[in-house]
């Protein structure tokens, strides 16, 4: 894996358990408290205070989308499904609800610690990937701008290759990304020319 998992910072973390009062809730609460988390139980839905939780454990057997104070499948924290009946429809719903890990019922003496670490790691990985995808998507959108900037620079009598190198040079001397330099060139071409010789032709 590309990064170490986060083991620290569970002390004082808040866990919300969305489950009707049950021996499973008691056993899970005992485990979480022993690990060092603060636990709050909710039923039949998560109150707004659950938005401050670091982890949510939710009942997969009787769950539905309306239980969560966020859009379906977009939880702002790691989620752990408490699965009793391993029916395909319930597993499918748990995954759509955004489960990052699961714990099988009845919950007994163990399982919570690994569920916490696995859920947090999956949540972190998901977020890192979304952020990376967003960035790549933005860069893709800006490719057209780069092409236009290179064309503008080449129009001043340079080869395409030289124009490309010049754009790279500008980005370096302005300490901005390649795409951002291109944006400035394109924006500049629509108004007074912003380039000075020192900046542009270094």
């Amino acid at each position: 894996m590309r990064r170490p998992i986060r083991i620290q910072n569970l002390g004082g973390a808040r866990a919300a358990i969305l489950h009707r009062p049950h021996a499973t809730v008691q056993a899970l609460t005992r485990q979480l408290a022993a690990i060092g988390l603060e636990v709050t139980q909710f039923w039949p839905e998560l109150g707004p205070e659950a938005l401050g939780a670091d982890f949510v454990f939710f009942d997969a057997d009787m769950g539905h989308d309306g239980m969560f104070p966020w859009p379906p499948g977009a939880p702002p924290m790691p989620m752990i499904a408490l699965i009793g009946s391993e029916a395909p429809g319930r597993i499918e719903w748990s995954l759509r609800a955004g489960a990052h890990a699961q714990l099988l019922k009845p919950v007994g003496d163990h399982g919570a610690y690994s569920a916490l670490l696995i859920a947090r790691d999956a949540f972190d990985a998901q977020h890192a990937l979304s952020a990376e995808i967003d960035e790549l998507r933005q860069r893709l959108d800006r490719r057209q701008t780069v092409v236009r900037a290179v064309t503008l620079l080449a129009a001043r009598g340079k080869s395409e290759e030289a124009a490309y190198a010049q754009l790279r040079q500008m980005a370096m001397s302005w300490r901005v990304t390649f795409e951002e330099a291109a944006e400035r060139i394109v924006a500049g071409s629509r108004g007074p020319m912003p380039l000075t010789r020192e900046e542009g032709d270094g």
């Binding site: 083991i7 620290q8 569970l10 002390g11 004082g12 056993a27 005992r30 485990q31 408290a33 022993a34 690990i35 060092g36 988390l37 007994g108 003496d109 163990h110 610690y113």
Partner: protein, 361 residues
């Protein structure tokens, strides 16, 4: 009139870690003898023994035998974490309780286990806090190939790197293996500032002997420059080591002759003391409460006050002593204030060691 209460003992009296088993067993038996002889206590313990002989696969079945075929609900036993993890499902199934009296790697708080010896915030972390300022931050890590060695070294690596130190090497041996040559060669070339030894039994004895020979060849590897550290080596294994133990530095809640924990006598080692404490605490929980011997651990603790077992984690408060073997016995070189067991390291605030230590002459 004393109630006769059966008490399970599950120790391997042969095999690679039998010296530790014997130390724990001595602690259990001396506590039983004392309780049985005390007219003030309305109960006596009847030991029910099973000996897995160092075979990991026998712990589960033998624990089941005790809980199923005898009246015992409480078992004192297990040395390795491997065997402890083997019996937990059995304890759950039969509603039994294990009293575990050996230092371990943490990250466990079973509803069916009481941990009366130290976990890493009570042994490894104080030991690293002591060694890095005193000797340097370049470490070599060794261990036996199972969870104790793996987790101890994972945690040590995390803490050493966090402190700006460096791990020069890390190597494991199968339990029982004496094949320490490669470790010694790696250490010879890596020239660390200290070595953390989480080997057990014959592997550890062989390693310490070979390391002493290395120190005779090359002065860097003498204990005063590059010591070997241990979190589980106590007086009970010194006879197996002889002079090879000289200079070894160990962390634990007790060393022979020290005052304080656990009180109530002098013990051969912290293993013995922790096992004694387990039985004494169980007797206190059951005394004067006919029928309490059939309660689950959770019920026992819920209806009790003033006990030593933290009802949340089932760990206890222990002092953290650091001692060096000098002239065949441990001499304490540092004593840190009593620390509650923090198995998941979620309650330990990272304070500099200097704030809580006092020097012991």
């Amino acid at each position: 009139m004393k109630r006769r209460i059966e008490l399970g003992l599950l120790f391997s009296r042969s095999g690679s870690y039998s010296l530790i088993s014997e130390a724990c067993r001595t602690g259990v038996l001396s506590a039983i003898a004392r309780i049985n002889a005390d007219p003030e206590i309305d109960l006596s313990f009847v030991p029910v023994e099973r000996d897995p002989g160092g075979n990991f696969d026998l712990y589960g079945p033998m624990c089941a035998e005790i809980l199923r075929d005898t009246g015992a609900r409480h078992v004192v036993g297990c040395v390795t974490s491997w065997s402890r993890k083997e019996v937990i499902p059995t304890l759950e199934k039969h509603g039994g309780t294990l009293w575990y009296a050996v230092p371990y790697e943490g990250f466990e708080a079973s509803d069916h286990v009481v941990y009366t010896h130290a976990c890493p915030n009570q042994h490894l972390l104080p030991l690293l806090d002591w060694v890095m300022p005193a000797h340097g931050r370049r470490a070599y890590l060794t261990g036996s190939n199972y969870i104790w060695g793996w987790e101890m070294n994972r945690l040590a690596r995390e803490r050493i790197v966090l402190a700006g130190g460096e791990v020069m090497g890390e190597r494991y041996l199968p339990i029982g293996s004496r094949d320490v040559g490669r470790m010694i060669e790696e250490i010879r070339f890596a020239r660390p500032d200290f070595v953390l030894n989480s080997l057990i039994g014959p592997s550890s004895y062989e390693f310490l002997t070979a390391y002493r020979a290395l120190g005779e060849e090359d002065g860097h590897f003498r204990p005063d420059t590059c010591p070997i550290l241990s979190c589980n080596l106590t007086e009970c294994e010194l006879p197996a080591l002889g002079p090879a133990a000289e200079g070894l530095v160990s962390a634990g809640p007790y060393f022979r002759g020290e005052e304080g924990w656990p009180g109530g006598g002098s013990f051969g080692s912290s293993h013995e003391a922790a096992a004694f404490t387990a039985v004494r605490e169980l007797a206190r929980l059951l005394a004067g409460r006919p029928g309490a011997e059939n309660l689950s651990l959770a019920e026992l603790l819920a209806s009790d006050q003033g006990g030593i077992v933290d009802p949340g984690t089932h760990h206890t408060i222990l002092p953290a002593l650091i001692a060096r073997v000098e002239g065949g016995r441990f001499r304490v070189i540092q004593r840190r204030a009593d620390l509650p067991g923090d198995p998941y390291l979620t309650r330990t605030v990272d304070t500099p060691a200097a704030a809580t230590l006092r020097l012991v002459k």
